[in-house]
């Protein structure tokens, strides 16, 4: 695998959902993501951070074509997947997996754990039932469960355990990339740490790339190599982890970081309180989407949407003022 070409390349990704509409009225368009572009290298973790309406989950799903992008190009491992036929896409799916937020909804309640884990093997490989069973048990113990768990049903396990099972399911096909969509958000703090450690270990062992989608800036800081901050469907800042967290450039990133409550009193900064609400993606503001709530807004911000540009050393920001 060539070290200089990225594993995943997203160019100009757009996804619009039709909303409302009836016999008399054309539906309105909700632009969940607007013209999003980024890359992800093999073995690397890119964090997608944002609040409601940021479009981060939609991006993750469009990359896997769980939603069909409205326009744009996604290139994975050298192949343009946005134009693949369903059969070809199916083969691709073995290499790109997803972990969802809800550990209680992502496992089929009527299947035993062993069956759930064996399913991808059935679909993508020609292993015999005995071989599949062996692989399943191996993976199960690898993620910290016991072999005896394979014959039980999902409802018999806790949230953290189910997330381990979900991770086992993604790892069983030795994928190259995993989209983690709020994978630890629904877990208790003490369990979260266990799952985070498990994911980091798995990354090292299998040279996985993660697209780590989360609203929790602290967890993201621990997990990622690079971060992209999203607001109302567009990337407003993208940089290496340390660059972003130490010197956030975009006013939204700065407000976001200051809003996070901190335990350590000494490290607590002066908070920037944003006024107003996050606007609805159905009716985005003209020009810069963050304009109405920004303390540094100038007249240009209302007219022209800023492009993502390099503000020094590969640190990207979409702002007229910085």
């Amino acid at each position: 695998m060539n070290n200089t070409t990225p594993l995943l390349s997203v160019e100009g990704l757009n996804k619009a959902f039709p909303v409302g509409g009836s016999l008399f009225k054309k539906p309105a368009l909700l632009h969940a993501t607007r013209d999003v572009s980024f890359t992800l290298n093999a073995g690397e973790t890119l964090g997608l951070v944002g609040e409601s309406g940021s479009g981060k989950s939609t991006i993750g799903r469009c990359i896997l074509r769980l939603h069909e992008p409205t326009s744009g190009k996604v290139v994975f491992d050298g192949t343009v997947i946005t134009t693949l036929s369903p059969i070809a896409m199916k083969a691709m799916r073995a290499k790109m997996q997803i972990i969802f937020q809800d550990p209680y909804g992502s496992l089929t309640p009527r299947m035993k754990i062993g069956q759930i884990l064996a399913e991808p093997l059935k679909i993508h490989t020609t292993k015999s039932a005995v071989e599949r069973r062996e692989t399943v048990l191996e993976m199960l113990t690898h993620v910290g469960m016991r072999a005896s768990h394979a014959d039980r049903y999902p409802h018999e396990f806790s949230g953290g355990q189910r997330q381990r099972i979900a991770i086992a399911r993604t790892l069983i096909m030795r994928p190259e990339m995993i989209v983690a969509d709020e994978a630890v958000s629904a877990l208790d703090v003490s369990i979260q740490a266990q799952i985070i450690n498990l994911m980091v270990d798995a990354q090292r062992e299998y040279n996985l790339a993660y697209l780590f989608i989360s609203h929790d800036l602290s967890v993201v800081k621990y997990m990622v190599d690079r971060v992209a901050v999203l607001y109302l469907g567009s990337i407003v800042e993208m940089a290496k982890r340390d660059d972003l967290y130490r010197t956030p450039t975009h006013p939204y990133t700065q407000a976001l970081l200051s809003a996070v409550p901190r335990v350590n009193k000494a490290k607590r900064a002066e908070k920037t309180y944003l006024s107003g609400e996050i606007p609805s993606p159905l009716n985005p503001p003209k020009g810069c989407p963050f304009g109405p709530r920004c303390s540094r807004v100038i007249s240009r911000c209302k007219l022209e949407k800023p492009e993502l540009r390099d503000v020094g050393g590969g640190h990207m920001a979409a702002c007229h003022v910085v």
């Binding site: 409302g20 009836s22 016999l23 008399f24 009225k25 609805s280 159905l282 009716n283």
Partner: protein
């Protein structure tokens, strides 16, 4: 809100059209020749041809349909073979009695059922709940003619409280009208009441488990206020839909109830027309009832706008 209603009315038109096709086909698919029914089996060929011609049965079936539906749209449902009078006129004469009966039974059964369902939900699991469920099941399962006959036996014969047959117009004598109305209305409403009670119960149980109920309790509202003002109000949306759908069952029961209690409504007339092979009459009544049913459902849909603020405000964003 207006857009919603307009939407509903426009969707109605294809439904009415298809229904008329179905009614027409059904009548003409019934085995047996109407001419035989009218003239008997030993009529001469000329007499048969004459009758066939007068009924328009010698024409192409599509032409028959178009001619019929054209008449319907302009209010001419044809003439009764038995009395010779216009079908529509006869229907409209008999309609008030059926409407009175239907209205009374819906009113009583809905009231009782919603209340019973609520009590059952609040007392979920204990004897009160079980009793309501058993009674509801009985109401749904026991055939209406059996209930009717038992009711007559109990309340007209053994304890002569209510008259067993007949009809008195409320405009003439309200008290007597009420006495005659009681048994038929209760019998007809029994099945509907059972179904609504169960539906109310399950919907209430669901609503009572929701977060806004806890907020209501935390505000210091009494259990009654929480149950009726908050939970029930939300349950009504489903209960009203359900009632609208179940009205069809009610109308079906009308035919039997009217026959048993000699209630001179559309149901009784329908039975009589069927027995006398009065095809235009039967066709007319069935179509009329079907249109009526669709119209009632339209009213149910419109009532949503009052019950559900999200629809009233066009799914405000």
């Amino acid at each position: 809100m207006l857009r919603y209603i307009l939407n509903r009315i426009i969707y109605l038109l294809p439904v009415l059209f298809i229904m008329s096709l179905v009614v027409f086909s059904f009548i003409h698919l019934i085995p047996g020749d109407p001419v035989d029914a009218i003239l008997g089996l030993n009529a001469s060929d000329e007499a048969r041809a004459a009758v066939r011609k007068s009924l328009g049965l010698d024409r192409n079936i599509v032409v028959q349909y178009i001619s019929w539906i054209g008449g319907v749209v302009s209010g001419d449902f044809g003439d009764s073979v038995v009395t010779g009078e216009p079908v529509l006129k006869l229907i409209l004469e008999k309609l008030p009695a059926t409407l009175l009966l239907a209205f009374a039974s819906i009113l009583v059964s809905v009231f009782i059922a919603v209340f019973a369902g609520t009590i059952a939900a609040v007392n979920k699991g204990n004897w009160t709940d079980m009793s309501v469920l058993v009674l509801a099941l009985a109401g749904i399962s026991v055939p209406v003619f059996w209930i009717a006959i038992l009711a007559v036996l109990a309340f007209s014969v053994t304890w002569p409280i209510f008259p067993s047959i007949g009809y008195v117009s409320p405009l003439e004598d309200p008290i007597a009208a009420l006495r005659h109305l009681t048994l038929p209305a209760l019998c007809m409403g029994a099945a509907l009441a059972g179904a609504i009670a169960r539906m109310t119960r399950s919907e209430m149980i669901e609503q009572l488990g929701k977060d806004y109920i806890i907020t209501a309790r935390a505000k210091g509202l009494s259990p009654r206020e929480v149950t009726y003002r908050h939970a029930l109000r939300n349950s009504l949306i489903t209960v009203v839909t359900f009632t609208g759908l179940e009205l069809g069952t009610l109308l079906g029961g009308a035919i039997i109830v009217e026959t048993i209690f000699a209630w001179p409504g559309l149901g009784l007339t329908a039975i009589q027309s069927i027995f006398s092979r009065d095809y235009p009459m039967v066709q007319g009544i069935v179509l009329f009832l079907a249109f009526f049913f669709v119209f009632v459902n339209l009213l149910v849909d419109i009532s949503y706008t009052f019950l559900n603020p999200q629809i009233r405000l066009d799914n405000g964003k």
